[in-house]
């Protein structure tokens, strides 16, 4: 379980910025790649910035699971503190 509290608004802000979207454009369920045209580099940026912001370590294997905002929140909830 995550040792840190996750500020959902902050996550949304980071993800939106990584995908070059306005915060309100980003939904919980729309697919990063299929819907927003993201690529592998965007995904790594999301992972890296979340790690930095929330002082957690997200295993590289989780990248494949981080397909939309909802999934990112879930991945983050099981990430360990750094």
């Amino acid at each position: 379980m995550s040792a840190v509290a996750i500020d959902e608004a902050k996550v949304r802000e980071i993800v939106a910025d990584c995908l070059d979207l306005e915060v309100e454009e980003l939904t919980l369920t729309d697919h990063f790649i299929d819907h927003y045209g993201a690529d592998s580099l965007n995904a790594i940026e999301v992972l890296a910035r979340l790690e930095k912001e929330f002082h957690v370590t997200i295993p590289q294997e989780e990248l494949a699971n981080m397909v939309n905002l909802s999934a990112v929140l879930e991945v983050l909830s099981r990430a360990n503190a750094r």
Binding site: C18, L41, I44, E45, A48, E51, K52, H55, R82
Partner: protein, 342 residues
């Protein structure tokens, strides 16, 4: 075995554009040359405003400048109804000094300042590499031919011309967009310390083609007759410069009295050049942007081309574009000004 052939036709300069301290595009540049007032920074250059938001989020300034210069070149050619083909037949050769010093330093700094040493902005990794601007330009305009970033400092622009000439001679591309980019930044200022010259920035690109691949109706602005470099190994940089200018003129079959315009960038050496080709030719080309690194020689050339455009006496005469760096590397190109005719 049937290796491809080698062509000896002189490379032709058939178009050019720039993002310069005088603004965006060729006309802005030519107008600034006409005014003759020095400037150092590209004014109001916000990459995402200039190029739009799509695909530009991670661009650094050098990348933005290079992409914009090539955009101007392609758009202006289109507007002149003399479009430039992209795709696999078009090479891109860009000179640099060390890529974006600012991006490199920022990335490195992040590793030292971060909570973890790997807390670096991964999405900006392409900017750290010297080929970032050339790669981004290729993506933007579908330039699938050879894509080369050449680091040469003050000689970089001329070495890029020489490299592009070799590519065309060996049939590795039908045409080359060749030039250089240098960005202004606090990091570059910091690295320069108490430099004698103010730092300048910009990106400037030429279209190089040969008679074999020239589309109908294309104006020929200049012909690259010769290009040579000389390294001072005897602590006599003035002599290296003199040798390279004489050698290049000789290779070009040109005499000093044919020289209409001449410029040297890098180290201050206007007087030495004037002694070789006459003060009139050197005085004709104003030094406008300060130290623009690898872009300096290419800016000199486009300054000459701008001036020649309005002066019919230039046609048929010769331009000498030289550089001398603080390590004694001298380079010189000799071009015949052709006045826009074929």
């Amino acid at each position: 075995m049937s290796p491809s052939t080698i062509h000896r036709d002189a490379p032709l300069i058939t178009a050019w554009s720039a993002v310069s301290p005088f603004g965006l595009g060729r006309e802005a540049f030519a107008a600034g040359v006409g005014r003759g007032e020095p400037a150092h920074e590209v004014p109001d250059f916000d990459t995402r405003k200039v190029l739009g938001k799509a695909g530009t989020r991670t661009f650094d300034r050098a990348t933005g400048l290079a992409v914009t210069a090539v955009r101007e070149l392609l758009d202006e050619a289109e507007a002149a109804q003399s479009p430039i083909a992209t795709g696999g037949g078009t090479a891109l050769v860009l000179g640099t000094t060390l890529g974006s010093a600012h991006s490199s330093a920022g990335f490195s700094r992040a590793s030292f300042e971060g909570d973890k040493p790997y807390d670096v902005p991964a999405q900006l990794m392409p900017n750290v590499l010297m080929n970032g601007p050339a790669a981004a330009t290729a993506i933007r305009f579908d330039l699938k031919g050879p894509n080369t970033t050449l680091a040469g400092g003050a000689a970089g622009g001329l070495l890029a011309l020489g490299y592009a000439r070799r590519l065309l001679a060996a049939d590795r591309a039908e045409r080359a967009v060749v030039g250089a980019v240098e960005e202004q930044s606090t990091t570059r200022e910091w690295l320069a310390g108490l430099a004698e010259q103010p730092l300048g920035e910009g990106s400037v690109v030429l279209l190089m083609e040969t008679a074999r691949t020239l589309p109908p109706g294309r104006r020929v602005l200049a012909e690259l007759l010769a290009l040579d470099v000389r390294l001072d190994i005897d602590d006599d940089p003035a002599r290296a410069l003199a040798d390279v200018v004489r050698e290049a003129l000789d290779q070009a079959g040109a005499t000093p009295d044919e020289v209409w315009a001449a410029a040297v960038t890098g180290q201050p050496a206007r007087d030495q050049l004037a002694a070789l080709v006459g003060a009139e030719a050197v005085d004709r080309v104003p030094a406008l942007f300060g130290d623009t690194g690898s872009a300096g020689t290419v800016f000199s050339l486009t300054t000459v081309l701008s001036l020649a455009e309005h002066d019919p006496t230039a046609t048929g005469r010769v331009a000498v574009i030289a550089s001398l760096d603080h390590q004694g590397l001298a380079a010189c190109a000799v071009l015949r000004l052709t006045g826009g005719d074929r």
